[in-house]
């Protein structure tokens, strides 16, 4: 089984975000970039599918040289091969999806995994866009997946419940937390990943369709009112919620 996983390199979720002087980007100084947390879950799922069904796992990332770090992390987790689609130009979910789809078409995998969303752009679009570009079925926000005889039954999260979806392979999946617990790279894996080559390709990346007009910090909220420090405050809190906030 040929398994592929598309991974992104994003600011650590704990990073403090400051806006760059151009007012359109973040200031990257001092920010640690990591493998996108949802993509870690996607990698784990591919590794498990390989362990069960045999085959190989290929990780793909579109971006500049910095993305190599994330590809190495994927290899340290156990991915067989890493491909960098090297391009550092501005992109949106559409242009990323198109470049990934072009490459995926060349290698025709059985399973294509994504994370549910990148925690930088929070678009949650690339995976399903690729599915549409390749004319493949897809299951987004998957929390459970079973593959037998070339057919997948997956569960996805919907409001207040779950939806069971059926799709024949090849198919696209986007990973949601709950699908699995990603493994930590072993020391052996980390060492091995250091010497494994990363294949580099130059993709054609189209002009983004989405233009950033401005990037700004959300209006800052002043710290609220401490209503009290024991249960005598409860009455006052309920009064405030009822009369001032009018939410109950």
């Amino acid at each position: 089984m040929k398994l592929t996983v598309c991974i992104n390199h994003v600011p650590d979720t704990a990073a403090k975000i400051t806006i760059a002087a151009d007012g359109k980007n973040i200031d990257k100084t001092g920010i640690t970039f990591v493998l996108n947390p949802y993509d870690e879950i996607a990698i784990e799922e591919c590794l498990r599918l390989k362990e069960k069904n045999g085959g190989e796992v290929i990780a793909i990332s579109l971006g500049g040289d910095a993305h190599k770090e994330t590809l190495r992390k994927a290899m340290a987790m156990g991915v067989d091969k890493a491909v960098l689609l090297k391009d550092d130009s501005p992109r949106d979910s559409f242009s990323v999806a198109r470049a990934l789809a072009d490459y995926l078409k060349e290698i025709s995998p059985d399973v294509i995994f994504f994370g549910k969303q990148s925690v930088d752009s929070d678009d949650a679009a690339v995976g399903t866009m690729v599915a549409e570009m390749l004319g493949l079925p897809s299951v987004s926000v998957a929390v459970k997946l079973e593959i037998t005889n070339g057919a997948a039954i997956a569960e996805r999260e919907i409001e207040g419940g779950k939806e069971k979806v059926q799709a024949a392979l090849p198919a696209v999946f986007t990973a949601q937390k709950g699908l699995n617990e990603p493994r930590y790279p072993s020391l052996k894996g980390i060492m091995a990943a250091k010497s494994k080559p990363i294949e580099e390709k130059v993709p054609t990346v189209a002009q983004p369709k989405v233009e950033v007009v401005a990037l700004r910090k959300p209006p800052s909220k002043s710290a609220g009112k401490i209503v009290g420090t024991d249960s005598s405050a409860v009455k006052e809190l309920v009064r405030l919620l009822h009369e001032e906030a009018k939410v109950i």
């Binding site: 600011p11 979720t13 704990a14 806006i19 973040i26 979910s93 925690v119 930088d120 929070d122 949650a124 679009a125 690339v126 399903t128 866009m129 599915a131 549409e132 079925p137 897809s138 299951v139 987004s140 926000v141 039954i153 996805r156 999260e157 919907i158 409001e159 207040g160 419940g161 779950k162 939806e163 069971k164 979806v165 059926q166 949601q176 937390k177 709950g178 983004p208 369709k209 989405v210 233009e211 007009v213 401005a214 990037l215 700004r216 910090k217 959300p218 609220g224 401490i226 209503v227 009290g228 420090t229 024991d230 249960s231 405050a233 409860v234 809190l237 309920v238 919620l241 906030a245 109950i248």
Partner: protein, 324 residues
Amino acid sequence: MKIIAVAEQRDNKFKKSAFEVVRTARTIADQTGGEVIALVIGGQVQTIAGELGGYGAQRVLAVQQPKLEKYSSTAYSKVIAEVLKKEQASVVLLPATAMGKDCAPRVAVKLDAGIGSDCIALKAEGENIIATRPVYGGKALTDIKINSAVKVFTLRPNVFPAGMSNGTAANVEVVDIPLAESYFISLAIETTQASSKLDVAEADIIVSGGRGLKAAENFKMIEDLAGAIGGAVGASRAVVDAGWRPHSEQVGQTGKTVSPSLYVAVAISGAIQHLAGMSSSKYIVAINKDKDAPIFQTADYGIVADAFEIVPALTQEIKKLLGK
């Protein structure tokens, strides 16, 4: 500007987001002098569709087929794209729900359109729309403009007004979109409701518990408070990782993003990843015994005390107020 507003229904009942989407389309159309066409997709939706007129749709289109009873990523997106082409509309609004977020990327590809996901504000600017959306887990906001001919936006639920406009009941047109078998290559075969419980992503009031509650069984008092106040139960990641609560209840950067009117954080420290999921709530109450807990920086009202003392008392007081 001709706008297609996709109104989501489940079991032939509109979701609140359906009204938000139609109403927002109306607001934009009023600013640009455009037309709002609401679109309802399902098994047999003709009978419910008329209601959307009251929210500002001039026309309501119902696309119905037994096979569309259950959601299909491929078929629903095909219907939306076909309707847009037929009507020569230039904007599609969808809710940023499990359905809308899944459908929108496919619609965008079919129409060679850029996409603005999970928007929290839309503003007409000449012939274009400026959309505001949270990025970096809500740590920043971005204003975007889509430069393709067709533009696709999904709207974060609970953020846009859902009230009726001065519109009247609109005529419902049943539209036939032929769908070959190949358009059902992804198909939901079964939907299970987790329970009759309200989902955090849709609830207007949420009571969330954190690691400070010390054990799964102590969530009983969170459930009681949520029950009394008519809200849903949420959880921090620490609690979900400990297996005390299901993943579906996790609020935060790697959980659900919520914008209820009231968010009560009980024994939650207020880590940046938790705030990412709930800081856009209208009112935030924090109950934490540590006065330096970061959650107090975001909360509107706080009580610095032991949750085991406060929460049951709060439940009682709310029951009293609501006459329960």
